[in-house]
């Protein structure tokens, strides 16, 4: 549901780049989206297509790299996958999230 606000934020950041580099057309934008962010990619693309109509971003492709949740047990250093943060090795619950909360623009391809 928060895809609309997220898309607006993406567009603002890309627009800054368009202004800085005097870009006439954006071909694609590469995003990293962590599983914890609970983003629905098709909804993000839907919002992006509507909001970029008539701008240099119109028709640009959103390349969304999905990052699964990975954690590291602070007690024993073991790695775990998924959102249940209990270490399968030692049962420790102090788990730091090392990936999966990303919400970032990596780069963009422009003309």
């Amino acid at each position: 549901m928060h895809e609309l606000s997220i898309t607006q934020n993406i567009i603002e950041i890309v627009q800054d780049q368009i202004d800085i580099h005097a870009i006439s057309k954006v071909i694609s934008i590469r995003l990293k989206v962590g599983e914890l962010a609970m983003i629905e990619p098709s909804s993000l693309i839907f919002c992006f297509d509507i909001l970029t109509n008539g701008t240099p971003m119109e028709g640009a492709r959103l390349e969304i790299e999905h990052v699964p949740i990975r954690g590291r047990c602070v007690d024993c250093g073991d790695f775990l996958v998924g959102s249940v943060f209990i270490c399968p090795e030692c049962g420790g619950r102090d788990v730091e999230v090392i990936s999966g909360s990303e919400l970032a623009i990596i780069d963009m391809e422009v003309e």
Binding site: M1, H2, I6, M38, S83, V84, F85, I105, I106, E109
Partner: protein
């Protein structure tokens, strides 16, 4: 041509949230971001809390809703300053909305500000507002599997209030499983079992609040 960007998409919001935080610290104001599903009991918790502590703590409320001033009216009737934010469709509050609402409150005369976020189990967890603590309220009727389905809010919160425990005899929610599932996502969560209807368990929540400011 490729342009490297490498920017957090929510950077703009996080900057404003930090500015809010500076304001809160200057005014020595403790700020809670209260989150939970529609109907979990956010406004009922506020009503109970205001009645219990308003003589000891100078308290203000920001109410976030998609539309209507119903919640703000309920809070106003309790006799504390309140500002209603209508997001007009947006499913969460963000730093900027809070920033504007702050202009309508006399912050120098407040010790505690509780921001009731839009009823939603997903989006509010993603947007910082400059708060000191995130408090989440879930009701037993929502089911014990919710932490597994909506992990982010449980992960981000400092406190989990499990509301409507008076209904436990009538429903299939296993409260021990609900607590276990929540702690599996965030072992630091402080959990309080409460009923805003009967008042059961609320004293422990007030004690926690008292210990913060």
């Amino acid at each position: 041509m490729e342009i490297k960007v490498v920017k957090n998409i929510l950077e703009a919001n996080e900057r404003i949230a930090q500015e809010n935080r500076r304001i809160f610290q200057e005014k020595a104001l403790f700020v809670i971001n209260l989150m939970g599903s529609p109907g979990a009991g956010k406004t009922s918790l506020l009503e109970q809390t205001i009645s219990a502590i308003k003589n000891q703590v100078r308290m203000g409320v920001i109410e976030g809703d998609i539309q209507s001033t119903r919640d703000a009216e309920r809070i106003k009737a309790k006799g504390v300053p309140v500002v209603q934010i209508n997001t007009g469709g947006a499913c969460h509050l963000d730093g900027n909305m809070i920033r504007h609402a702050l202009d309508k409150l006399d912050l120098s005369n407040l010790d505690l500000l509780i921001v009731e976020n839009v009823g939603n189990l997903v989006c509010p967890a993603e947007f910082k507002i400059g708060e000191d603590a995130k408090v989440m309220i879930i009701s037993t009727t929502e089911g014990d599997d919710k932490p597994l389905k909506y992990p982010l809010m449980f992960r981000e919160s400092n406190v989990l209030l499990i509301n409507k425990i008076d209904l436990l005899p009538y429903i299939d929610c296993d409260i021990e499983k609900l607590k276990e599932n929540s702690l599996g996502i965030n072992h630091r969560l402080r959990i309080f079992e409460i009923s805003c209807k009967t008042g059961e368990g609320l004293d422990k929540w007030y004690q926690w609040l008292d210990g913060q400011s």
